[in-house]
Assembly symmetry: C2
Homo-oligomer: 231 residues x 2
């Protein structure tokens, strides 16, 4: 990994065209050739970058650029597309290289899966008398998060999201369409369950006769600690 802090200007052409006026920035060249241009704020997203696989060529400025103070020109060309990032370096304040080796990567644990386990354990949240049929009930287009039976014996399909968006309602709608073709299950009601349901998603769900259920993660954790069943 090479770290350069320099006054620079950049131009990107590819999916879009964009340019960066001259300013002092951090340039990171990773082992795979990818390049990041970071400012001293914003977020984890660089101002501009080139994703691997790509090739960095360090060149000399032409006379005009040199006269304008450019000391080097970096051309980063993507290997599979026309994406190209051109960086003009002016004053270089820092330049160092480091051997980092391979990274074992981030180890994370689930949230949506956790919500699913909690709701399965507290299936009564769907309404008194509900019974769990199974989690990850398989269909031709993918598993439904939860399938349950209500007290009258009717089927209930539940789609669980951390954040309930329109996409989730669409997903549940597709499942319901398929499940309702199964004479052993039909009619199947739909329940859209999420920690937070966006207004538009609620409108769409209601419009399609799908019930919305807001899940209180902390309250559900308090009722029954199912963490051990997940891991």
């Amino acid at each position: 990994m090479r770290l350069v802090v320099a006054s620079c200007a950049a131009r990107y052409t590819g999916r879009l065209s964009a340019h960066l006026p001259r300013a002092t920035r951090l340039l990171v060249v990773k082992a795979d050739g990818s390049v990041l241009l970071h400012s001293d704020g914003g977020s984890y997203k660089p101002l501009n970058w080139m994703s691997p696989p790509c090739t960095l060529v360090v060149g000399e400025p032409d006379d005009e650029s040199r006269a304008a103070g450019v000391t080097a020109v970096w051309t980063v060309q993507h290997q599979k597309s026309d994406d190209r990032l051109e960086i003009e370096l002016f004053e270089v304040l820092h330049d160092s290289a480091h051997d980092l080796g391979v990274d074992p990567g981030l180890v994370k644990d689930g949230v949506e899966a956790h919500l699913q386990a909690l709701l399965a354990a507290q299936i009564g949240l769907l309404g008194s008398g509900h019974v769990l049929v199974r989690r990850e009930y398989p269909t031709a287009i993918g598993p439904v998060d939860i399938l349950a039976k209500d007290p009258t014996g009717g089927s209930v399909a539940v789609e669980i999201k951390r954040r309930g968006d329109i996409d989730g309602v669409e997903q549940l709608t597709r499942y319901l369409e398929l499940l309702n073709r199964d004479p052993l299950l039909a009619p199947v009601r739909g329940v859209f369950a999420a920690q937070e349901i966006k207004p538009q998603a609620r409108v769409l769900a209601t419009d399609r006769g799908i019930a919305c259920l807001t899940l209180d993660y902390d309250a559900m954790r308090g009722v029954d600690d199912v963490d051990s069943r997940l891991f």
Copy 2:
């Protein structure tokens, strides 16, 4: 901006829980206090990070950690949530600080908004005699990019994408379903307009009676320079 290259391990708790086993990484501390942990590959996304506003506290390791080789402990706490990133530093290979100043930021052009402005200005591309009703026509589930009238007085809803994918057809379908319930508008025809329409999207659109319109960005810019109205 502070740059540290060090062998380190990290633990994040917040929206999720995750940890990073010990390895050599780049740690970037930005002027706003945010921290990025980068490996020597992957992409522009860090392995782990803390977004601003947050506070970095550098502390001493306890005896047990010190015995294990930890030389410093960084605690990065988000100021508005419980998000917390804890980093244990072992061997430090590099440590430097740099004053970058304020960045003017990225200047980009040529996006969906631009296509929308161009098509609104050249609404005749939908067919001779079409008239613009309005851009961003509101519905309960979000605004339709363009609503127009055809020469017979019929309504036309247009969804614009840079790349026409199935998602866009689904989105337009939802809008059409809602718009067609409005007796003042119905029947509403749909037009799916994009610089490039994927074959699958075209098939789905055609199947649903939605017309496809391929937009020639350069040609549209040539006809009428509306850049000044956008920027």
